[in-house]
């Protein structure tokens, strides 16, 4: 059985792992490589590194840390942030990343999704979507430049339309970050994820809102997502990954069991 994935997300700013609350007030959590190693050995199924400064600063940042991660990590990892061209993506993949995640640049140039698909294959192309629920209009809208509060903008895209657009252009996976929930640890946005799940034929990863083990259980059983991404609960040690996976497994959710070598 295909296991549901637990994905710690490491927000990276200037080579350090940071965490903000609703995209603001970033505090430094630690160095990238030891933290990545710790999560991998604790049973994380995959890691995501978001360079949160890259898109909003309109610059190409030093990505040599990607190589350092690839040298020590033996599970899949994805890099996001500031990838604006096929050339940028090739550079990250050459350093050993398995996937690249595109957010704002895909909104500015949706054709980039097709180009990345054609060049590297669908499996490499992850689309990150920052979605915010506007109570007044009762709609989910896509935002861009969310790495920098002063530049964050609402786009003209409704979230469900954008999901279908990126799917049709050749995306391989969608990470849906529900901005209302981000960093507040009140649970994943189940209703939004369910709505997206209904139109999404790709693997769908939930992001934003994890605060306790029950939230993971809810998102897997109620929104049928393929993976759940979380940051602060792991960084702050509120949830231990092995304990989380054990609990979910006991609740009947398929989790990857650790490898036990058989005597030859």
């Amino acid at each position: 059985m295909l296991a549901k994935r637990i994905i710690p997300c490491l927000d990276v700013r200037e080579g350090k792992v940071v965490k903000g609350v609703q995209f603001r007030n970033h505090e430094i959590i630690g160095d990238i490589v030891p933290l990545a190693e710790r999560y991998a050995s604790a049973g994380a199924d995959e890691l995501v590194f978001y360079d949160i400064t890259a898109s909003s600063d309109a610059r190409t940042v030093d990505k040599s840390w990607v190589k350092r991660i690839a040298e020590v990590i033996d599970i899949p990892f994805c890099v996001a942030g500031g990838i604006k061209s096929v050339k940028d993506a090739a550079h990250i993949l050459e350093m050993g990343a398995d996937k690249i995640s595109i957010n704002s640049p895909a909104l500015l140039n949706p054709g980039l999704i097709n180009q990345l698909h054609d060049e590297f294959g669908q499996q490499c192309v992850v689309i990150g979507i920052d979605s915010f629920f506007n109570e007044e209009t009762n709609t989910y809208s896509v935002y861009k430049f969310t790495g920098d509060e002063t530049r964050t903008q609402q786009t003209l895209w409704k979230t469900l339309d954008w999901v279908q657009e990126v799917q049709q252009r050749g995306a391989g996976e969608i990470v849906l970050n529900c901005m209302n929930q981000d960093g507040v640890r009140q649970g994943y946005d189940i209703s939004q994820l369910k709505a997206v799940r209904n139109v999404c034929t790709l693997p769908l990863i939930a992001s934003g809102g994890a605060g306790e083990i029950q939230h993971f259980k809810d998102v897997f059983t109620q929104a049928d997502v393929d993976g759940a991404l979380a940051a602060s609960v792991f960084h702050k040690g509120l949830i231990q990954i092995n304990n989380l996976k054990q609990t979910l497994s006991e609740a009947g959710i398929t989790m990857r069991a650790p490898f036990l070598k058989k005597d030859c």
Binding site: M1, L2, A3, K4, R5, A40, D45, E46, A70, E71, D74, I75, P76, A89, A90, L93, E94, M95, G96, A97, D98, E119, F120, G121, Q122, Q123, C124, G172, E173, C200, T201, L202, P203, L204, D226, G227, R256, A257, P258, F259, L260, K261, K262, D263, C264
Partner: protein, 201 residues
């Protein structure tokens, strides 16, 4: 671990670093090359690959490596798309069919998964593992990391199976040619064990 010449065939795809790094972690020194002579002299050869079968075959043809690969007699391991290139033909092409290396008589088809998602992406269990040194120490139902939308159906050359809506070949073998649909280089300790087994074949 073992002093031998390990070569990864440079198929022209961008991300083959992770395979190299995984082998280096096991103590091997690894050469990435498209030089026919160096490939022929290697003790072990890896055929990696991401992207589409048609693009990869075009690249291999342009580098004049089709015959070179077909005539190798040392252990060869195809990984993911690399495994799919070992069979006769693949549906993964704009024309609907592309000839592959034809080393294992089987076909690559698009996965039929019903309501499930494609690509098949994530950790899945490998089972019905045949007696083979490649799977030494690896019990049935071990999780490996998969990312693909095309597959080889179960065949007489299937070494291990995986199921996603339907069963398919997780590993193939004919003579000295081995292939795995999953990514051992990204499959944690299980993957390391498989690569170690390959190096000791």
């Amino acid at each position: 671990m073992i002093q031998q010449k390990v070569v990864i065939i440079n198929t022209g795809c961008a991300n083959i670093s992770s395979v190299r790094i995984a082998l280096e972690r096991l103590g091997s020194s690894v050469l990435i090359t498209d030089d026919a002579r160096l490939i022929q002299q290697a003790d072990k050869v890896l055929l990696p690959g991401v992207g589409s079968a048609a693009t990869a075959m075009k690249s291999i043809a342009q580098k004049n490596l089709i015959k070179v690969i077909q005539q190798l007699s040392q252990p060869v391991l195809g990984v993911c798309l690399g495994m799919q290139l070992l069979v006769s033909r693949s549906e993964e092409s704009k024309d609907g069919s592309v000839s592959c290396l034809d080393l294992i008589p089987a076909d690559v088809v698009r996965m039929q998964v019903g309501a499930l998602r494609l690509p098949h992406m994530g950790w899945n269990t490998v089972s019905s593992i045949a007696q083979s040194a490649l799977f030494n120490g690896i019990p049935d139902h071990t999780y490996f990391y998969f990312v693909h939308s095309f597959c080889v159906k179960p065949s007489p050359y299937t070494l291990a199976s995986c199921t996603y809506a339907q069963p398919f070949s997780a590993a193939l073998r004919k003579d000295n040619f081995y292939g795995v649909q999953f990514h051992p280089e990204r499959s944690g300790e299980a993957g390391a064990q498989l690569l170690r087994n390959f190096l000791t074949l």
